[in-house]
Structure formats: C-alpha cells, structure tokens
C-alpha cells in the first residue's frame, strides 16, 4: 500500500482546483493508494465527492492564510508527523512550491520538485522530472520516505471519478510568524485567465517592441483567447510579467497555442508543451519552435499576421 497525503487547493470559484484533481489522478496511479486530501482552511464543498479515502480540513486557515503560508506549513508539518504517509503530494503552484520545500527541509524528508511522472518500482517510489530547462528528463529512485513531491500542472489528466471520503476537521495551532504581508497588488486582467484560455496567442523577442502586442490582443479577442509572452518580451518591458509562459512563468495547456516570434527555447516550451496544438509563426525555418509545432508558417509576422487575423475574423463572423 502507498499512503498519500495530498495537499489540496481550491480555485478562485471555491471549487477543488484542476491542479488538485490532476494530483488525485497521479496519486491513484501509485500501487494500492490510500489517499487523504487535506485543505488549509475549510474544504470546498466539491471535495466531499472526490474519489479518495478521506478529507481533512484544517479549519479557520485559508489557503492564502498569511499570504506566505507560514501557518499552512506548520499545520501540514504536524499532519505529516502524525499520519506518517509515504508520499506528501502537492501541486507546483505558488503555494505548493513554497510549502513543499519548507516542509521537506523542516522535517528532513526527501524532496522532488516539479515532477511529471510518479510510479512504483519494486516497492520504491520513482519520479521523473524535467531538468536543464526541459532539455532533459531525469528519473530518480526515492531512497527514503516520507517523500515530498510537487507535480507540474498538466502532467496528468484531472481525475473525474467520484467517491464518498470520510470527512474530518482539525483545529489550527498557534505559531510564531516572522514575515508579514502588508499589501497585495493585483494586475488587472481583461478577458479570460491565461491558464484557463482555450486559445493562447504569445509573442516573443521577434515582435521587436511593445506595439505589436496590440495585434496579438486583437487576435486573442477574435478567438476568445488570452495573450501570453516569452520571458525575453517580458524582460524587455513590452508586456507585464504576469503574461510570461514557461518554466518560471505560467503553465498553459490550451487547444491552440500560437507562438509569434518565439524561438522555442526549452524553458519557454516547458510552459506550453501540453497544448493540443502548437502553431508557430517565425521567420527562421531552423528555429527550434518548428520542432515542437504541429502547424507553422515560415515568414515575417508583420506580413503573415494581418491576413491571418482577417481570415480568422471572417471565419468567426
């Protein structure tokens, strides 16, 4: 049996997040899984029909408790001590990355971050994680348990099975807190969330400046999609960093990912390679993006994009 403590998260609508459903699927792929899902704060209502063994809510702590999750880390650390699971599974979200690492080092546990595959081999846990920006994959045997594992978004299809887990609630403890969030400044977003969009239109250094992003915006609007960008475009200040797709930006998996003037560096592809179809517009036929794309046009975006946009509008009319 593999006992798994899965750290759940809720989304902005108060539902079990897609990344948590993906983690449930990953947990279920292990041998004879016994899965407890815990939520920092009250569990979302939809958690009560998850196909897992039990749900534990740590009441009165919200997912964003102190903003940097010091309370959550302390709560989950005590749960790990009392439950002694084989695997502590988190999503590689802002929450999961921070809490996972702190937990592992606080309790001297094994830690594998940003994994794309979990399995059991001869009783041991085996994890696969992309390394070198995604240029390579590394497979590890986890020598000692409990092991803390964070899971990359999109690595597993979300679990759709239902069940009736036992439900429990525990009281939070009081902790000593060091750092305090005094303010949160949110980027304003118009239209669909990048992570949820069915179509993403991304621009890179090849656009040459900030203005062309308005053409990408028009295209995204015509397709009910969202605008993304490479790190090079964000670092240049052409568009806000909240649009960055990639290893250190957002992970997206739309039906169509349109990359304009993006070379397809492994660190960029790490954020979009689980898209259904990648479409590339790039003037360099040797560019790496054409090794990853399903459809492509070799050409100057300034000539290709206007007619593409016009045709899309006609087709959509």
């Amino acid at each position: 049996m593999t006992s798994i403590l899965l750290i759940g998260e809720s989304d902005e609508h108060g539902e079990v997040s897609q990344s948590t459903l993906q983690a449930v699927a990953a947990a279920k792929s292990l041998s004879e899984p016994n899965i407890t899902v815990t939520f920092s704060g009250d569990a979302p209502a939809s958690a009560s029909s998850l196909s897992v063994d039990s749900i534990v809510s740590i009441s009165a702590v919200s997912n964003s408790d102190d903003g940097i999750y010091e309370q959550s880390t302390a709560e989950i650390a005590s749960l790990v001590t009392s439950n002694n699971p084989d695997v502590v599974l988190l999503s590689k979200s802002d929450f999961g990355s921070l809490v996972g690492a702190r937990l592992a080092f606080r309790s001297d546990l094994s830690f594998a971050a940003d994994c794309t595959e979990l399995s059991n081999e001869n009783g041991a846990l085996v994890v696969t994680r992309p390394v070198y920006g995604g240029s390579a994959l590394a497979e590890f045997i986890v020598a000692s348990t409990p092991a803390v594992v964070t899971l990359r978004a999109g690595a597993y299809e979300p679990s759709t099975e239902t069940g009736s887990p036992a439900i429990e609630s525990i009281e939070p403890q009081s902790i000593e807190q060091f750092a305090y969030v005094t303010d949160t400044v949110a980027e304003t977003r118009d239209g669909v969330r990048l992570e949820d969009a069915g179509v993403v239109v991304s621009g890179g250094r090849g656009l040459g400046g900030p203005e062309p992003f308005s053409v990408l915006k028009d295209l995204a609007n015509a397709l009910d999609g969202a605008v993304g960008a490479s790190r090079a475009a964000c670092d240049a200040g052409w568009i806000d960093h909240s649009h960055q797709v990639g290893l250190t930006g957002k992970s997206v998996s739309p039906d169509v990912y349109i990359a304009v003037g993006i070379s397809g560096a492994s660190q960029h592809m790490a954020g979009c390679s689980s898209s259904r179809a990648i479409v590339a517009i790039n003037k360099d036929a040797d560019s790496n993006i054409f090794k990853e794309a399903r459809f492509g046009v070799v050409g100057d975006w300034e000539k290709v994009l206007p007619s593409f946009l016009a045709s899309v509008r006609e087709l959509k009319a």
Partner: protein, 261 residues
C-alpha cells in the same frame, strides 16, 4: 551573503545539448564555458542596489561545487561584490539539494555575521528552486521567495514578492533569507574598473575537510537512475501560400479544417 552556483550555459541551443548516458551527466558543448546561474546575478544585483541606495554593505558571494572556472565566477566580483568564497571539492560533483543546504549552512554558520542571505529563484541546471528555502528552514530564519524589490528599513526589510498575478508587499526582520527573481531587472555589466579590481582579488577556497564534513554526510536522498533527452515525434506541417500574406490566410483555413479554431 549571496549564493551563486556555477551552471552550464543555459543558452546552449537544444541541438547542441548532449548527455553522456553512461555517467548520467551533461556534456558541455565545446568552447562554451559554464556561467554563474542567471538568477544568482540578479541576487548580486539586489545586493548592489542596497549599496547604491546608501547602505553600508559587504557582499560575500558563496558557491559550492567543483571544477570552478574562475573567469566565470569572478564576474560577481567585477560587478561589485567584495569577497568570493568557494567550497571546491570533488566530492561535491553529484550532491543533491539537501547536501548543498548542509554545506552552505556550515559555511554560513562558520563565516559568522551577515544580515541577509540572497539566493536565485532557481538554478538552471536541476531547476529545483529550493536550496535557499531549505537553508532558511535549517538556519531557522525568516524566508521570502521571488523577490523583485528590496529595501532596508530601521528594523528589517520590506520587499515585493512576485505572485501569479501581481505582487505582495512583505515586511520581515533580519537576518533573513530571500530568493531573487529576474523581475528585479537586468544585472549590471561589470565596468573596466570592476574587472581590474576583480582580477586582483583571490577567492577564499575551502575543501569539505576544512569544514569538518565528509562525503558520507552528503549521501543523496534521491538516487539519479536515468538522465536522457526526451524524444519528440512532432512533425510540423508547414503552410505555404503564394506569399506570406497568403500563408497567413491558408493557416487560418487549415486550423478551421482541424476544428482548432
């Protein structure tokens, strides 16, 4: 104290990225020297910005590894750091992050006084993003990750921490551990004077034995069994029209045909 790791140049084009599967290690492309991890230069820059803002800071760069290329590592001194401390030992070739944290913590505790430990948000070789986080836990210090702006205050620091769609303002006491992200801005280029000064400085080098550690203390919790380049069987369908504008039009029609748009 700035944590800086020497890594293979991440700008190596994918076509030149090679792995020796018999040793599970990356073969550096000919003539491309390793570099200081990009985010660690952002961390050096963060420290230099504190100095620019008028604070009296001494900046020590600390690195754990082996086969250091001094021209690469000294870039941190040329930018304006004061000291370069290297833990250089063959036994450090293949250690995991838990062991890295152990070595870093040992040096930091030995070296004594510091007010801030600044690391990069992640190292571009193993992409783990957790060494400074682990260090904060082991040293029992406050931690703020993903810092894009940093100010010293009378009794600590205020920082901006990047979150998914914006940022948080955070106050913390010092000493503290921070990880720095590229949103901080481009690290400065060393000027001629900096390069001259750096060339005269000698790094302080320690072995594991100097620190009272042995490779037995550093056994990995995760055993690397396979390192390989994933195969891509994606075949691109190139859309060619009479001219580039026509290609754009044909692309739209093709995507509609596939019911993708």
């Amino acid at each position: 104290m700035v944590l800086a790791k020497q890594v293979p140049d991440p700008e190596t084009p994918p076509s030149q990225f090679k792995i020796d599967e018999s040793t599970n290690s990356v073969v550096p492309p000919n003539g491309v020297p390793p570099v200081v991890n990009g985010f660690d230069l952002n961390a050096v820059e963060a420290a230099l910005l504190l100095r620019d803002a008028g604070a009296d800071v001494e900046i020590t760069v600390l690195s754990v590894g082996t086969d250091f290329v001094m021209d690469s590592m000294k870039k941190t001194l040329a930018m304006g750091a004061d000291r370069l401390v290297l833990v250089d030992d063959d036994g450090l070739d293949k250690i995991d992050s838990a062991a890295t944290v152990k070595v870093l913590a040992t040096v930091i505790e030995k070296d004594g006084a510091f007010d801030l430990v600044l690391g990069g948000r992640q190292a571009s070789d193993w992409d783990q993003a957790h060494v400074p986080l682990g260090l904060a836990e082991v040293l029992g210090l406050p931690l703020v990750s993903l810092v894009q702006k940093l100010e010293l205050t009378d009794n600590g620091i205020t920082v901006q921490r990047v979150i998914t769609d914006g940022y948080q303002e955070i106050t913390a006491p010092i000493p503290a551990v921070l990880t720095v992200t590229n949103e901080l801005g481009e690290p400065r280029y060393p000027n001629l004077r900096g390069i001259m000064q750096a060339s005269r400085k000698k790094p302080e080098v320690f072995s594991l034995a100097d620190l009272g550690l042995s490779s037995g203390d550093l056994a990995p919790k995760l055993k690397l069994t396979k390192l390989y380049v994933p195969e891509s069987n994606q075949q691109v369908e190139l859309i060619e029209g009479e001219n580039e504008a026509d290609s754009g039009k044909k692309l739209a029609l093709r995507l509609r045909e596939e019911k993708l748009i």
